[in-house]
């Protein structure tokens, strides 16, 4: 009777130990696969490269120059098919960042002011269509005026 009780209690003990192990072990195994995510909010810069006709410069090559090193690119990459390119400037290097976009000898350079906390700044190197039209017309009129001036009868 006593031995029967002892074997029962030892069975209970083993069962309890196994149960504890079953509870703890998977938790340990799961911890080994645990991922840790952090986030820091930073402002990225989106470059959209288009020809002045509006056609995106697909797959154009991009070189990003940090302030103070105009010869060595800080980052190089390629625009997507929509002519877009994203990069996050190093907030440790505030100043005038330069982004050069090039495709088949076409391209431009844009300068972006990166302060310690810049959010939502926008800029462009182009003009609107109306500005372009007015400029083109004024130049053409200047040239026609030149032609008229030199074609008047000489006295």
């Amino acid at each position: 009777m006593q031995s029967k009780f002892r074997s029962l209690s030892s069975t209970c003990l083993v069962g309890f130990a196994v149960a504890v192990c079953l509870i703890i072990l998977p938790a340990d195994v799961a911890l080994a696969h645990g991922a840790e995510l952090q986030y820091i909010e930073r402002s990225a810069i989106e470059i959209t490269a288009r020809y002045d006709s509006g056609v995106p410069m697909a797959n154009a090559q991009v070189a990003v120059f940090a302030p103070g090193s105009p010869a060595e690119p800080w980052l190089t990459g390629t625009c997507d098919s929509e002519g877009q390119f994203f990069f996050t400037p190093d907030p440790e290097i505030p100043g005038l960042w330069e982004v050069q976009v090039r495709l088949a000898g076409h391209g431009d350079l844009i300068r972006i002011e990166v302060a310690e906390n810049t959010i939502g700044a926008t800029g462009t190197t182009g003009f609107t269509s109306l500005q372009k039209l007015l400029m083109a017309l004024s130049v053409i009129w200047g040239l026609i005026g030149t032609a008229l001036y030199f074609s008047r009868r000489q006295r």
Binding site: A63, Q100, A104, G105, D108, F127, A147
Partner: protein
């Protein structure tokens, strides 16, 4: 064909300015020698400079790229030695107003478009061999002159760009892109050839003296 600032090396830009300076001097010298009073040629030169200036704003989408008219051949055919200064003034205005091209690359661009224009002029001068007033030789030579001017400009630009790609860009990818762009100039060359031939036929009928840039 308009190379913007910062694409080619400083050496190439300075070389371009030197070449363009020399060509401008030669053109002005020839103008003085041939025409005496250059005032008479200026109205025509100014109007064609306006055409040249406006032409680069007319885009022709040829997927995957977009190209624009050049009119270097037309300038050469109609203006003769006036073509080089006209190209130079047109490019200066395009660079200042629209950042199309650039001020540092003005010399290089003037050579890329001015030299083919002068070449087109020489080609068109061959019409004296076939009869100066006959429409067919005039039209064919005008077409060939304008076609070859665009082709020569595109080839020169491609060679320069491939040679002058900075080390930090992928040279192979840039080369492919440049070659694609150069081939896209083929329809432009055909279009400009046809247009120039039509202009020459029109001028031959209404005002043949306008085509006498090679005479006087």
């Amino acid at each position: 064909m308009h190379i913007p600032d910062g694409i080619i090396s400083t050496t190439a830009a300075i070389g371009g300015y030197a070449a363009a300076g020399g060509m401008t001097w030669l053109s002005l010298y020839k103008i003085k020698q041939k025409y005496g009073n250059p005032r008479n040629g200026i109205p025509r030169a100014a109007l064609l400079t306006a055409a040249f200036f406006a032409a680069s704003l007319i885009h022709i989408p040829i997927p995957p790229v977009s190209v624009h008219l050049v009119f270097s051949g037309l300038l050469g055919v109609v203006l003769g030695w006036f073509a080089f200064p006209a190209v130079l003034v047109g490019l200066l205005l395009q660079a200042v107003m629209f950042q199309h091209g650039g001020l540092t690359t003005l010399g290089v661009n003037a050579c890329l478009m001015g030299l083919p224009a002068l070449m087109a002029h020489r080609l068109f001068c061959l019409r004296s061999l076939f009869g100066r007033r006959k429409p067919l030789p005039n039209a064919i030579l005008a077409f060939l002159a304008a076609f070859s001017a665009v082709a020569a400009g595109a080839i020169m630009a491609a060679l320069l760009l491939i040679y002058a790609t900075p080390a930090y860009f992928d040279a192979a990818a840039e080369k492919t892109a440049v070659l694609t762009l150069s081939f896209a100039h083929l329809p432009v060359a055909l279009l400009e050839g046809t247009f120039t031939a039509m202009v020459v036929l029109f001028l031959l009928r209404v005002q043949p003296t306008l085509l006498e840039a090679d005479q006087k």
